[in-house]
Amino acid sequence: MQNMGKSQSGYFDVAIIGGGVVGSLIAFRLSEYRLRVCLIEKEADLACGASGANSSIVHAGYDPLPGTKKAIFNSRGSQIMQKWCKNLGVPYRRNGAILLAFSLDEELTLRKLLQQGRENQVAGLEILSKEGVLKKEPAISPSITAGLYVPNSATVCPYELTFAGAEIAALNGTTFYFEHRVTAIRKREPPDSESGFHITCNLPYSNDPIDIYSRTVVNAAGVYSDVISAMAGDASFTILARRGEYVVLDKSLKGFIGHTIFQTPNKKGKGVLVTPTVDGNILVGPNSNIVDDPGNTATSRNGLDEVIRMGLKSLPNLDVSQAIRNFAGIRATPSTGDFIVGASEKVKGLFQAAGIESPGLTAAPAIAEELERQVAMYFTPAIERKSDYIKHREPPIRFRDLSGPEQEDLIKKDKKYSSILCRCENITEAEILEAIRRPLGASTINGIKMRTRAGMGRCQGGFCMPRILPILARERSIPMESVTISGMGSEMIKGNKR
């Protein structure tokens, strides 16, 4: 998502820092108001951090301690997610979950979770006998002793949710800065200037910093939210980076399980889950390891082995030879033990959406609602909604999901729908072009992949990548050598034959 032309300084009412699912949905909510809003992202695209690499689960809400922000936003998020997804044209599937107990101790934990879930207003929870579990999911290990059935658990595509929110925000006038790394935030006070913040950003392709001025700052910077908060003058918390590794299995295993299969949670977190994704793959993970570098998303041999071992504990016949990819996501674990959401107690005009670890994806819409309320109230006189704004997103065409006659109609309108570029996922050239041309369209190979699924199938881009590369170069009017996987420094090809 290259910035068009030269980046310029700007003046805003709200500057959201971080283009993950939380930042994007806040931008979406605030874009309905008569506010000048910008979103600043250090990467070349949205959803490059934890939002692009997580379990994709909409948790029902039995897990967080009652009364915590995690519990409140989880419950609310779980309730409104389906509606939001419908509105934003994002795939959502309520597939239900089962937590497995392998011992009497774990059964006791499940009973506590059942109680806790009821306190958190989670509907439909039920303890199942071993037979009850195996009836629902025959592939589950016969060594289990019992299970907790969670009918309201769902799966969603986390990056599509991020793209969707940002797309509406952009259509409603929000300014997006990509590849802008915030390096300093200075509080400005009257009488020198209007009260607000002076944000300095560095660009990878220029030595001149960019200045952005904003009356308020919303900190949605994920694993870097402690750094951003401290820059703005609030050092009241720190963030620990926890890496979770995942293995993705091929769609050929579709139907092996229907529910999301958890193990009984322990001190380290929710443990390794096995879940079908909205796109029909099976996802196994995550483990949990604290890492020094929040930017380090490398997977490790031991980590992947651990994930597979734990996945096989739940489902002994899971065909792990069908692995097509592994990845790691970094979760932002806050030192406070709870989400940090709302106005900073230290700095006026700074709003936090920090430390959003699991169940952060689920909570994101609820957090966005809360910040919408708080930020809109902050300004005097109170800010009104615009008279006209876009509320609903027309989802991109997914050719593969259409009926025969619908496909035929599309091909009649645009021949490019008949050209299938990604063979594994059946993605047409027209869909690739749409992903590039939509508002906040893809400018990187990963951007196309996450928007269309081209390259996410079993060949992992072997066929389509060399074909997408020239298309992206042509569409963006850049030489092929400048096309990147994920922003400057990740150029796809290196060295020119000519």
Binding site: V248, I324, N326, S418, S419, G462, M480, G495, N496
Partner: protein, 496 residues
């Protein structure tokens, strides 16, 4: 083009297997034979395989991939086969209707979504490369990781280099070919790692692609981790002992900006499975009878979709049989035909392993002179005869073990000055009008020398050819340049 409602034989895929089976079906008496190809060209992967080594069995001549493709296409056209390009087969019906035909649903520019009927179907979809995720190498998923085949497309069709300092994982043939290709284009191949204790590809490729250019091949080794945030910066490699235990002292970091994967091919059978065809868990290709017919009556399979072959000539040979059988099926005479022995289920690994014992012994002797004798593997054709050159004082050296005259010539050349056929790419420049403005359109063409040139001149010659700008359209077979680097070899076009 007029598309019929019913065909005798529909062939899915216009690569070498599809072309040969269609030609054969047509020549065996099937009236209407249609090849459906999703790309805009015929020949499958061959146009990007610009190296030689094709056609010795099928055309009795050593050809490059594009030349082999042209000949196969010409044969099919001459036979009267119909083609439908830019068209994907969406599904093949799992049942036969009362009129003994099966429904094939296609989607294409010309057809839109359309159902066509076939009395017999030949599956010829080929195979695809195994990606990084399937072999579970940990580390970053940064830029600079390619399968060997996609790198080959970038270098030979798109005209760009994937990177400059390369480590290749897997010594499959495509990986070996790409090691040479990158070297000829000015890149540096640091190493080829192979997990097995013997090379994965053909011996002639090990010699012509690695040993010729002094590229190290590390057997019983793998990439343990890929390093780099945005772009590959290095890999950690390690070697294993015969029990499969990692040797700690062997672990080292190698700087590179690119990793190429040549770790195996998998038959592409999504369509087959959806049509109710059962696969052999070992080959991952359809289970077929002695008529190459799958468990679905009237659906045949040939080429790499059935099992992965080393040589395209073998693919074509098998496809010819599949075409005959499919045609006989259409005419109801299949049971009267003599079937073939399929070696399905037999482990390819095992075959290779047996060969490799003798190769291991040889490996150390390659290019090492002893006073009395020297043993080399002939690389003229894929048979790979082991030649022994005996030296006797005062007389001419004696060459033994060759099975054709070219083998003798090869041994003699190797003793004095080794020679190789150079295959590489050049450019054409065409001036085109686009939206009122004149633009230069550059296209990459493939070329070869018409005779072998000295090995020591290969890199120099490739660098000269790389700078060729041909200001016009060229045709296959056209001479681009005479007497390349004073070798008397001419540079001829192999792909327009």
């Amino acid at each position: 083009m007029n598309i019929e409602n019913v065909y005798d034989v529909i062939v899915v895929g216009g690569g070498p297997a599809g072309l040969s089976s269609a030609t054969s079906a047509k020549c065996s008496g099937s009236e209407q034979v249609l090849v459906i190809e999703r790309e805009s060209w015929l020949g499958g992967i061959l146009p990007q395989c610009i190296h030689t080594g094709f056609g010795l069995m099928e055309f009795k001549e050593e050809l490059t991939g594009p030349e082999y493709a042209s000949r196969s296409i010409r044969k099919a056209r001459d036979a009267g086969v119909s083609f439908l390009l830019n068209t994907a087969v969406l599904s093949i019906s799992g049942s036969i209707d009362s009129d003994k035909t099966r429904e094939v649903t296609v989607s294409g520019e010309l057809t839109g979504i359309r159902k066509i009927r076939a009395r017999a179907v030949i599956l010829a979809m080929g195979c695809r490369e195994k990606p990084l995720g399937s072999i579970g190498i940990p580390g970053n998923r940064c830029a600079g990781i390619f399968t060997a085949g996609s790198a080959q497309r970038l270098v030979n069709i798109e005209g760009v280099m994937p990177g400059t300092e390369v480590v290749i994982l897997g010594s499959g043939d495509i990986g070996l070919i790409m090691a040479r290709r990158i070297t000829l284009e000015g890149g540096k191949v640091r190493m080829v790692c192979e997990r097995m204790d013997h090379p994965g590809g053909l011996e002639r490729n090990v010699i012509q692609c690695l040993e010729d250019y002094h590229i190290p091949l590390l057997l019983s080794s793998t990439i343990l981790e890929i390093h780099g945030q945005k772009r590959v910066e290095a890999v950690t490699v390690g070697q294993f002992d015969p029990t499969g235990t990692l040797l700690p002292d062997s672990v080292r970091r190698i700087q590179c900006d690119t990793v190429l994967l040549s770790v195996g091919l998998i038959p592409e059978n999504e369509l087959s499975v959806a049509a109710g065809v059962r696969l052999d868990p070992h080959t991952r290709g359809p289970i077929v009878d002695s008529y190459m017919q799958t468990e679905q009556s009237g659906i045949f399979a040939c080429g790499n979709v059935l099992k992965v072959y080393d040589l395209v000539d073998e693919v074509s040979g098998e496809a010819i049989l599949a075409g005959k059988f499919a045609s006989a099926y259409v005419h109801g005479t299949l049971s009267a035909m003599e079937g073939i022995q399929t070696d399905q289920g037999q482990s390819k690994e095992k075959e290779k392993k047996q060969e490799s014992n003798s190769e291991d012994l040889l490996r150390g002797n390659q290019f090492q002179n002893s006073d009395q004798e020297r043993r080399i593997t002939c690389t003229v054709c894929p048979i790979g005869c082991v030649l022994t050159i005996r030296f006797h004082s005062g007389t001419k050296p004696v060459v033994e073990g060759y099975s054709c005259k070219r083998g003798l010539k090869y041994a003699q050349d190797e003793m004095i000055s080794p020679v190789r056929t150079l295959t590489t790419c050049a450019w054409t420049e065409e001036i085109i009008e686009e939206e009122g403005t004149k633009k230069v359109r550059r296209r990459e063409i493939a070329v070869r020398t018409d005779r072998p040139i000295p090995l020591r001149k290969m890199i120099q010659a490739a660098a000269i050819i790389r700078k060729y700008q041909v200001p016009k359209k060229v045709q296959q077979g056209e001479v681009l340049k005479r007497n390349l680097v004073k070798t008397q070899a001419n540079v001829i076009v192999t792909r327009e």
